[in-house]
Each structure stands twice: as structure tokens, then as C-alpha cells.
Symmetry: C2
Subunit: 179 residues, 2 copies
């Protein structure tokens, strides 16, 4: 999808190896993006094919050989082009929201339990994000944005879950199964 551009972004400041890139994603980009080696290595090959990165192989002076990738001028241009694009609306499936949508199917006491469990899980995840080592500049801005999102969801669950278990008030969907 946009993994290639994420890699360009991570290579913007300093050259890195595939391994470095995986670590940087885990440590600097955590909630925003993640990818494993099986994606990163082929993606790097693609970037190279397009001339967006250049490869320098370091002989095994100390440890295993390293493949260091650095941005080319074309790569830098492409990164800036991508950043200037109109961002497409995110459309990923969210299991948590889907569960929430089907809570009608549970008897009332279990609904409560499920809502509490969802709240606890969110809380744990927020704590995890807060505990991550602070990444610099816009990286930390992105991370705080992610925390903000999750906290808004949690606030909503706590308020809405207690106040509005809307059963059959709304327009009951006509099943339109006549035939």
C-alpha cells in the first residue's frame, strides 16, 4: 500500500539497513505503521528498482554484512510528492467497532461485561503507547494523535455504554424478505 513511502520517510534523515528499518518502525512509528522483514526486504528491492534508494554493502568488518540504503534525489522528491498528496480517507476494518455494533446479540449483563472488557483493553493499550520512548519531532506528534484517538473512543464507551443502551427505539429495519 504505502509501505514504500513509509520506508522513504524513515530513510529521510539517515541511511539504514532493512533490520534498522524494522526496528525503527517498532520504536519510532509504533501505532502508525508496522511491517515485518518479509515485507521490508522485497519493498526495498522495489525502491531500488525505481531508483529511489541506493544500496551500499558493508563487508563484514564487524558482524554480519550490512546492506545500507540511502535516499537518492529522486527518492527525496517522491517522498515530498507523497506528503503533499491529498490524503485518502482511512478505510480499515476495525474488529473492536464491529463487536460493538453487534452487542445487541448479548443478554444485558454480558453486554456490561463486554463493554468493561473493551474499556480495560483500551486502557492497557493507551498505557503501552504512553510508555514508549519518546520519538522526536513529528513522530511524537503522530503518536500523541494516536493516543488522542484512543482516548476519545474510551471516553465515548464509558459515557455511551452507561447512558445509552439503545434497544428498540430507532426505526426497526424492515427485513424486506417478502417474495
Amino acid at each position: 500500500m504505502s509501505l514504500p513511502h513509509v520506508l522513504l520517510g524513515l530513510l529521510h534523515e539517515i541511511p539504514r539497513s532493512g533490520y534498522d528499518l524494522a526496528r525503527a518502525m517498532r520504536e519510532e512509528l509504533d501505532p502508525a505503521w508496522n511491517a515485518g522483514f518479509s515485507q521490508i526486504y522485497p519493498a526495498l528491492a522495489g525502491l531500488r528498482r525505481r531508483g529511489w534508494v541506493a544500496l551500499r554493502v558493508l563487508g563484514p568488518l564487524r558482524g554480519p554484512r550490512r546492506h545500507l540504503y540511502r535516499l537518492t534525489a529522486a527518492g527525496r522528491r517522491e517522498l515530498r510528492r507523497w506528503l503533499g498528496e491529498i490524503p485518502p480517507p482511512p478505510r480499515h476494518n476495525d474488529e473492536g467497532l464491529a463487536r460493538l455494533a453487534f452487542l445487541d446479540a448479548l443478554p444485558i449483563p454480558e453486554r456490561r461485561k463486554a463493554l468493561l472488557a473493551a474499556d480495560a483493553a483500551l486502557s492497557t493499550e493507551i498505557a503501552r503507547l504512553r510508555a514508549l520512548s519518546p520519538a522526536g519531532g513529528f513522530r511524537s506528534l503522530a503518536r500523541r494523535a494516536a493516543i488522542e484517538e484512543r482516548e476519545a473512543l474510551r471516553r465515548f464507551l464509558r459515557a455511551g455504554g452507561a447512558a445509552a443502551p439503545p434497544s428498540e427505539t430507532g426505526p426497526r429495519r424492515e427485513a424486506r424478505k417478502k417474495r
Copy 2:
């Protein structure tokens, strides 16, 4: 992933065909889940194999033949089991957040432009979600939760984007609580 359980959820109240399920996802579940026919039809076959749904074929009385699926008792049990599970923390890659994280790479005036564009895109998406026909019960709760998340992100971008463009020379606060 959890598409099978989403289908069980949609079949909870009334039997539906594959086509109905696709429409229901678009209309009732919109930001929470989406899937095309190429996922739905094989998934339905899987549900049938597991005994969670039963199939009734309606002859072409009017129009093409319909394959109506309904939940079995085992399917109902499985749906409730899934809803009671501990929800896994969501971990999807978010292109919008990733872009935000790399805004360092743009010269300042273009950063502004990019932030404004992101805000506008968010605004459009929120308007789209608000305009969707209201789904009943917990469906609408899930949709409002999704809107809440997006609005929190937007608030953050408006505030943080204007007030705190943390440069790479910013105060590197490294001495958190050392323990």
C-alpha cells in the same frame, strides 16, 4: 480475520443472502467493516462447513435464485462467544498518521498546506459518516464511536498543528523518570 464473525453478527436477526450481506455492510456497518463478494462467498461456505449457518435456496420465482443463510444454534453460540472474548488491541497501519510522522521532510510552508489538506479530508469523511442513514441500536453506537475518533484526531491536528510544530532542534526531553 474476523469476517466470519461479522457475518454471524449480520445474520443474527434475519436470514440474508450474500448480496444482502454486502449491502448491509455498506449501509449499516460502514466505517467499522467492509468486504466484497470475493471474500463473502467463500466465508459463507466456511461458515456452512462449520455448521454455524444453514442454507436455503429459493428457486427463481422472481429474479435470479437466492441463497438465504440463517444462523444455527451453534452459530448463535459462536457469535456470543466471540462477543464475550477479550478484544485484541487494534493494530492496523494508518497512512494518515504515517504521513504526519514524516512531515519533518517538508519545508515549513508546505507543512502547513499538508496539515490543512489533512484537516479538510477528515472533515469530508466525518460529514460522509454523519450523512449515512441511521442504523439501529448498537450499530449506530459503533458509528458514532467512529465519528468520535475522527473528531478527536481533527481537534488534535487543529490545535497541535498550529501550536506545536516541534522542530528537530526542539527540547529533547530525555530525562524522564530514571529508575
